[in-house]
């Protein structure tokens, strides 16, 4: 049996700041199979981006991966040298960054930034590299790619820049793409186009996708599996339809409740009361308990990340099992 494209086991990435240790990623586990899409959702600051950087081995000081394993096609990435990691980055594992305005180098032309990516991993001529760059731009729906290649990033809108970043990620048809809110800056039609392109990639080349987003409706339409992050931990994970239809974790339930389309018409939008806790010196026990309607005394103990139903994990000692059974 071939190993999954990516398996993250108990990943911990902490930032050792002057104010204290920020446990940005603290015991995160998930698996992405070949050709599948994992939706990684969670509130701002829950550790989604840091998880992505950890997989690429791009966590900068004061941050450090302090525990866990990242298995890429069965290989533990911690055992690879920096040169071997560099061979993977941009080639077998690509990432699309969250902020398209900041992703491209302002003083280098688009063609420079694309061709260098091709040449970093493929022994081809410059002309061939340029050709590939142009094709990739066409693939993400950029009109007249030949002229656009000679432009500088500031001549592009935010949405266009994000498409360039996506095109760069597609250049080597990677095995894994980590897309950090890639469509937030795009309008709806382009968003649909990009999503379709992503799905095509998955089915044609078996690319696995980690799609980081706030938007549950995108996850519902695109992802096979979902992992919901809260305060650096995965609160719940499982097949996307099951989790969204009948969540186990009170936090997931709250998230779904705050999406308008899933509410009954006219009913007030439910909001999760309270605030995301600070990740600095987080107390032990369930991080959600200050906001949880089902909290009880036992929640002051760290809840285990347990498999309550086949393929469905939750980090809660009091999950919504009755509701799941009723659904």
């Amino acid at each position: 049996m071939t190993p999954p494209t990516l398996e993250v086991r108990n990943l911990r990435t902490h930032f050792f700041t002057r104010a204290g240790v920020v446990k940005a990623v603290d015991d995160v586990s998930f698996t992405v199979e070949r050709g599948k899409v994992l939706g990684l959702v969670g509130e701002s600051g829950s550790g989604k981006t840091v998880t992505g950087f950890s997989i690429l081995g791009l966590v900068d000081p004061p941050g450090r991966i302090t525990g866990g394993q990242i298995l890429f096609k069965g290989t533990d990435l911690a055992t690879l040298s920096e040169a071997q990691m560099r061979d993977l980055r941009g080639n077998r594992i690509a990432m699309i960054f969250q902020d398209p305005m900041m992703t491209l180098n302002p003083v280098l032309r688009i063609d420079t930034q694309m061709i260098e990516t091709v040449l970093a991993h493929a022994r081809v001529s410059r002309a061939e590299a340029r050709q590939r760059a142009r094709d990739a731009l066409g693939q993400v729906g950029i009109p007249s790619p030949e002229e656009r290649l000679a432009a500088y990033p500031h001549q592009f809108s935010g949405g266009m820049r994000q498409r360039v970043a996506i095109a760069i990620a597609l250049l080597h048809k990677p095995d894994l793409i980590i897309a950090d809110e890639p469509t937030t800056a795009l309008d709806v039609t382009i968003q649909g186009q990009i999503l379709a392109e992503a799905q095509k990639l998955c089915t044609q080349y078996g690319t696995a996708l980690i799609w980081i987003t706030h938007d549950l409706s995108v996850v519902a339409g695109l992802a096979d599996d979902i992992a919901v992050m809260y305060a650096g931990k995965v609160a719940e994970s499982g097949p996307v339809s099951e989790v969204l239809d009948a969540p186990l974790h009170p936090y997931t339930r709250g998230l779904i409740g705050s999406v308008p389309s899933r509410n009954h018409r006219g009913a007030p939008l439910s909001q999760i009361p309270g605030m995301t806790p600070s990740l600095l010196n987080l107390p032990p026990g369930c991080a959600f308990r200050a906001r949880c309607p089902r909290a009880e005394a036992r929640c002051a103990e760290p809840p285990p990340f347990a498999e309550y139903l086949p393929g469905r994990h939750a980090r809660c000692i009091h999950p919504h099992l009755a509701e799941v059974a009723a659904a």
Binding site: R89, G90, N91, M102, L108
Partner: protein, 324 residues
């Protein structure tokens, strides 16, 4: 680009006019050259004849207009002392100052950029701390003192380098240059290093600050996420961005280097414009002073223009047409 250049030219004319007035008034206020130029024994008639010959009997505004009219024809007056056109005197000495200033700038970039880059990439290493401490010395030690120390060590004690003059020169384009001969270069080494001292520190600090800031940018992380080699990330993605502030500051500083080469030129008896102007101020040689200041103004204007153009080449976001 053409619109930009035209607008710049108009501005330059305005600046030059305003400066010429200021310079003229300023120099007039310094003192009366008659006292110095005409021997105390001269009688009244002789005195008046001399004053008339120099045009000093006219009212101030007329003197200014005469000066302006002649200046437009490229005549900035004759030196009272040398009895030669002031402009020619200065232009004769300009190559010496220019090559010294260029030499200093090149030395500053050659030393400052690599050191600053290293200190920016490895801020915690002992060598970086040493570099930064050294740059503080470069800022704070007085130029003349360092110049004298250089002479003491390299000329007097070690006897490696000559300490005065330009050495052997070669004539190119009707001007004499030292940097084209071995002997000339040897003569240039110490004064150029002396003049570069402050700039080296400046370039180190600018480069280090730029590197540290740029390294944190998303686009650098993205470049790494593309799997580029560290060398490519540093020398293409980071370096091209830090060149922008470095070129701006070093470019604008170039005018200052020329203006302040006075000290270095005096210490090393380098026969440039700086030395000429000091001598001229001592004897109140008004036309030379005025001509010198006007040339410095023109130099600053030219430098600013060159910096702006270079800037637009380095930073594609700068559009020359759009800005005044």
């Amino acid at each position: 680009m053409t619109v930009f250049l035209l607008r710049r030219l108009l501005q330059a004319v305005g600046v030059v006019l305003a400066m010429s007035l200021l310079v003229f008034l300023g120099v007039y206020a310094i003192g009366d050259p008659v006292e110095i130029l005409i021997s105390p024994e001269a009688d009244q008639i002789e005195r008046e004849r001399a004053v008339k010959a120099l045009g000093l009997d006219l009212p101030l505004w007329q003197q200014y207009l005469v000066f302006l009219g002649r200046a437009l024809q490229g005549d900035l007056g004759r030196s009272f002392v040398f009895n030669e056109p002031a402009l020619r005197l200065i232009l004769q000495r300009m190559p010496a100052t220019l090559e010294l200033a260029f030499g200093a700038t090149i030395v500053a970039l050659l030393i400052g950029l690599p050191l600053g880059l290293y200190a920016g990439l490895r801020p915690k290493s002992a060598l970086s701390q040493g570099i930064m401490a050294g740059s503080i010395l470069g800022f704070s030690l007085p130029t003349f003192w360092v110049g004298l120390m250089l002479i003491m060590v390299f000329a007097v004690q070690l006897g490696w380098l000559p300490s005065t003059g330009r050495g052997e020169t070669v004539e190119v384009l009707g001007m004499r240059w030292s940097f084209l001969t071995r002997d000339g270069l040897a003569h240039m080494a110490m004064p150029a290093l002396n003049l570069a001292l402050f700039k080296i520190s400046l370039v180190i600090r600018l480069t280090r600050a730029g590197v540290r800031e740029t390294m944190l940018m998303d686009y650098v992380k993205f470049a790494r996420a593309k799997g580029l080699s560290p060398a490519r990330v540093t020398f293409v993605h980071v370096f091209k961005n830090i060149l922008i502030p470095v070129v701006t500051v070093v470019g604008l500083e170039f005018g200052g280097t020329i203006a302040f080469s006075v000290v270095t030129e005096s210490v090393f008896a380098w026969p440039g414009m700086g030395k000429l102007i000091i001598d001229s101020i001592n004897v109140l040689d008004r036309p030379v002073m005025v001509a010198y200041l006007m040339i410095i103004v023109l130099l600053f204007i030219t430098i600013n223009l060159v910096v702006d153009i270079t800037y637009s080449v380095l930073d594609p976001r700068v559009r020359l047409e759009g800005k005044a």
